[in-house]
């Protein structure tokens, strides 16, 4: 039964990220006083791109398969997270999910470096720098959180207070992971002519954009999982709440991104590093105190 539910969630996750991206564009348009594209626009865009012949470049096959690999890995993350939330083998599957997130992100950031275009290389390097700060902190935060919930079984107000810095850490880290303004410095800068996006076209561009939507889905899902794991719920309710709250977290992230400008590669990692170190120190101190 649970397996069926998990598979349904994964099946829905094939098209939902594209729809949520359409909703994000509409929200952005409303905040900018425009009408904006219809909700299914992202789907139409992907469809049109898939029908076009790509302009190939030297490392094209490698890039194509890396993108496909990252999509498969993201789906694996979604599947494992859903099964874990449903309560099956949670203690085994949560670390697996965290590890899969890291592997998926590695595939994501290696892709721009495989394209032999100077803009793409510069963009890829910037993304690597940002990922170095962000991924480690995300994994550390998730691991600490998992340890906290599994070993301490928190359920009181005190539990929430201790977990608060971790929640802030995971929320910020997943926001950075989702590659939105102010942290889209790899692919959206003007002088880079959009970094990796300049070289891709046709089918491979459609797959790349789809992998970005999936990445955003995973990042919203991680935030939802962390928030709802703290609450004492039965697994089925938690499963439904997690999946239903993903679009709301998505919209919240998109509203935040509209109000900010793009950061710079020498400013962003430094600021993030300081913030994460502070949050991690506070949470580790809190956990030790509890013990």
């Amino acid at each position: 039964m649970e397996q069926l539910l998990a598979l349904t969630a994964v099946a829905l996750a094939i098209l939902l990220p594209v729809l949520y991206d359409g909703i994000e564009r509409k929200t952005k348009a409303i905040l900018q006083s425009r009408v904006g594209p219809p909700l299914h626009q992202s789907l139409l865009d992907l469809g049109k791109l898939l029908s076009k012949e790509p302009v190939e470049f030297p490392s094209y096959p490698l890039v194509f398969y890396t993108t496909v690999l990252s999509i498969i890995l993201e789906f694996a993350v979604i599947l494992v997270l859903n099964i874990a939330v449903l309560g099956i083998n949670t203690s085994l599957l949560m670390p697996v999910a965290i590890a899969l997130v890291t592997v998926a992100q590695t595939a994501n950031i290696s892709m721009p470096l495989l394209v032999s275009n100077p803009y793409s290389q510069i963009g890829g390097m910037r993304e690597v720098m940002l990922a170095l700060v962000n991924e480690f902190s995300l994994v550390a935060g998730l691991a600490l959180f998992y340890y906290y919930t599994v070993s301490q079984h928190p359920s009181s107000i005190m539990g929430w207070v201790i977990a608060m810095p971790l929640i802030i850490l995971v929320t910020t880290a997943t926001y950075v992971l989702s590659g939105r303004v102010p942290f889209d410095i790899a692919e959206a800068e003007v002088e880079l002519a959009s970094g990796v996006l300049i070289e891709l076209s046709g089918r491979v561009l459609a797959l790349y954009l789809y992998s970005i939507y999936l990445k955003r889905y995973v990042s919203s899902m991680l935030a939802a999982v962390v928030v709802f794991t703290l609450m004492p719920l039965n697994p089925l309710t938690r499963f439904i709440l997690v999946n239903v709250s993903i679009p709301f977290i998505w919209i919240l992230y998109s509203i935040t991104s509209v109000m900010l400008g793009r950061s710079r590669i020498d400013l962003a990692p430094g600021t993030l590093f300081k913030v994460y170190i502070v949050l991690l120190t506070i949470s580790i101190t809190g956990l030790l105190v509890i013990k």
Binding site: P118, I122, E191, V258, G261, R262
Partner: protein
């Protein structure tokens, strides 16, 4: 008025260097023999601290057998134009270069070299305006070259020599998806730090000056001038009309001058709002871009109500304007401006407080004051580096003497200062328009009869949204004999080399955008037509044109 002592020093200078002088209105013509040109330029620029605006080379062989070279300076503190003219002999004229003393004269000398074939001694030679495969010995602005002459050219790939040994070249342009106009910057970077930058421009040179001399009449050139630029067109046509009126000594009705000033300020509003939107977009803050252009739409509608067209207003003529502002339009303008002011303050308040916008604008793209003076930069770029210069106050034209306004000057010289100068200017413009609308006199808007005699010179500087724009007109029969335009961005681009050095690569587009480049104003190239089609010149194929 100009004090006698100041005029005297120019007259004495001419006498000392063996030349002659002529004072006409606010123009002081000094005729200096070739050998003393550098000394004259150096005295005027370094000792008297005049502003070098541009130089004009003219083929006057049909008139008097000589080529001439005129350097135009302005004395901002006493409202004078000082024109230093030399006569050059022969069909391959040689002139002394003043680049050593006046670095601001670099580009205009290169342009005279390219288009008229005047050799300058003692300076480096490179192609600026014409493509590198243009044949030697063919000079488009000479009188024997007809404007519709076709050449058989083969385009070849151009290589820019690397300026420094190390550094990875990152090209921006010429056909960049994020740029609005063609320009080519080659940034040499090491990691994220820019070491040097090379610029190759003039992709949109259209041969406007040649066209005006060949087949247009005085009134038709107004419309041609308006199309030099899509954003600041009206000030070009105003500057041309004022230059011709000064040359022909026409007495334009006051009401027309007021209308010109009001529309000039409306244009400044729209241009600065556009720039602010583009700057926010470059920083990734798209919401600021959308809202800024939303309120700019109100200015465009206002312009359409006042002049008949959202851009390329087409109301300027030599001798006045073609459209009047009646009572209803006057009231509507004041209403629109009041609304605009409130909305603008709200949006700027929010936009400047976004942390990324503040952090990325401050401290980047710094232009120190001595370089600003040496290179003769114009407009908000100069005012943000501490140079207090504004042609509306220093060399008043049209109706600006009837309005009182502040000129914002900041000293930091970074991108934030340039942005703040423009924000302040928007507020000042709105106040100027309301003052002028209150004080506008009654009367005609166009001269009934006028006559333009031949052989007269008119020079005028107009403060465009990007800086001081200068037009020089030498009148001929029914059409100008020579028309020279020097747009403000022309002087601002060489300053980019200083601003981009040692900056982070991520700030490059923002710095380039912060001088508010208007490449259509800067270039003015010959489009070679083949069978009526326009052939696109690509740099990497040998294609017969």
């Amino acid at each position: 008025m100009h004090s006698q002592t100041l005029l005297d020093r120019y007259i004495q200078l001419a006498g000392k260097l063996g030349g002659k002088h002529l004072v006409e209105g606010d123009m002081v013509h000094l005729y200096i023999p070739r050998e003393n040109l550098v000394k004259a330029a150096s005295t005027l620029f370094n000792e008297y601290r005049l502003t070098h605006r541009t130089c004009v080379a003219i083929d006057e062989r049909p008139l008097n057998g000589f080529f001439t070279l005129t350097h135009i300076f302005t004395d901002d503190s006493s409202r004078l134009y000082v024109l230093v003219k030399t006569y050059l002999e022969g069909d391959n004229p040689v002139a002394p270069s003043i680049v050593g003393e006046v670095p601001a004269a670099d580009w205009c000398e290169l342009e005279a070299m390219d288009l008229l074939g005047i050799q300058f001694e003692g300076r480096r030679r490179e192609r600026l305006v014409l493509p590198p495969y243009w044949p030697d010995g063919v000079y488009p602005l000479r009188k024997e070259f007809s404007y519709d002459q076709r050449l058989n050219l083969h385009a070849v790939s151009e290589k820019i020599e690397q300026a420094v040994e190390t550094g990875v070249p990152v090209p921006i342009g010429p056909y960049h998806p994020a740029l609005h106009e063609p320009e080519y910057f080659e940034l040499y970077v090491e990691g994220e730090r820019i070491l040097d930058v090379k610029y190759r421009g003039f992709h949109v040179h259209r041969g406007i000056e040649k066209l005006a001399e060949s087949r247009m009449t005085y009134q038709q050139v107004n419309f041609l001038a308006e199309r030099i630029c899509g954003i600041c067109g009206f000030e070009h046509s105003t500057c041309y009309a004022l230059a011709v009126e000064k040359a022909a000594k026409l007495d334009v009705p006051e009401r027309a001058q007021f209308i010109r000033s009001i529309v000039l300020e409306v244009e400044r509003l729209h241009s600065h709002l556009l720039w602010l939107g583009v700057a926010f977009h470059t920083l990734g803050y798209d919401a600021g871009f959308m809202h800024m252009w939303r309120i700019r739409e109100k200015v465009m509608e206002l312009a359409e109500a006042l002049t008949g067209s959202r851009k390329t207003y087409g109301i300027n003529m030599v001798g006045g304007v073609r459209r009047d502002i009646n009572e209803e339009k006057r009231k509507k303008t004041i209403e629109v401006l009041n609304e605009l002011e409130k909305e603008f303050s709200k949006i700027i308040d929010v936009a400047i407080s976004v942390p990324q916008v503040k952090k990325r604008l401050t401290g980047t793209g710094v232009l120190p004051k001595e370089w600003a003076v040496k290179l003769g930069v114009e407009g908000p770029v100069a005012r943000a580096s501490g140079v207090d210069r504004d042609a509306r106050r220093d060399l008043p034209y049209a109706a600006y003497k009837h309005a009182s306004f502040k000129v914002p000057v900041y000293t930091e010289g970074d991108n934030m200062a340039r942005a703040l100068v423009r924000v302040d200017e928007v507020k000042e413009s709105m106040s100027i328009i309301i003052q002028l609308l209150d004080a506008i006199p009654r009367g005609p808007i166009m001269l009934d009869k006028y006559e333009i005699s031949e052989g007269r010179i008119g020079v005028q500087v107009v403060e465009a949204p990007r800086g001081g724009d200068i037009h020089y007109v030498l009148t001929g029969k029914g059409k100008p004999y020579r028309w020279r335009v020097r747009a403000p961005t022309y002087n601002n681009i060489p300053a980019l080399r200083i601003m981009l050095r040692d900056q982070s690569l991520a700030d490059a587009p923002l710095t380039i955008a912060s001088i508010d480049p208007c490449f259509s104003c800067t270039d003015r190239i010959m489009v070679i037509r083949e069978n009526g089609r326009v052939e696109r010149i690509s740099f990497n194929r040998g294609v017969p044109l």
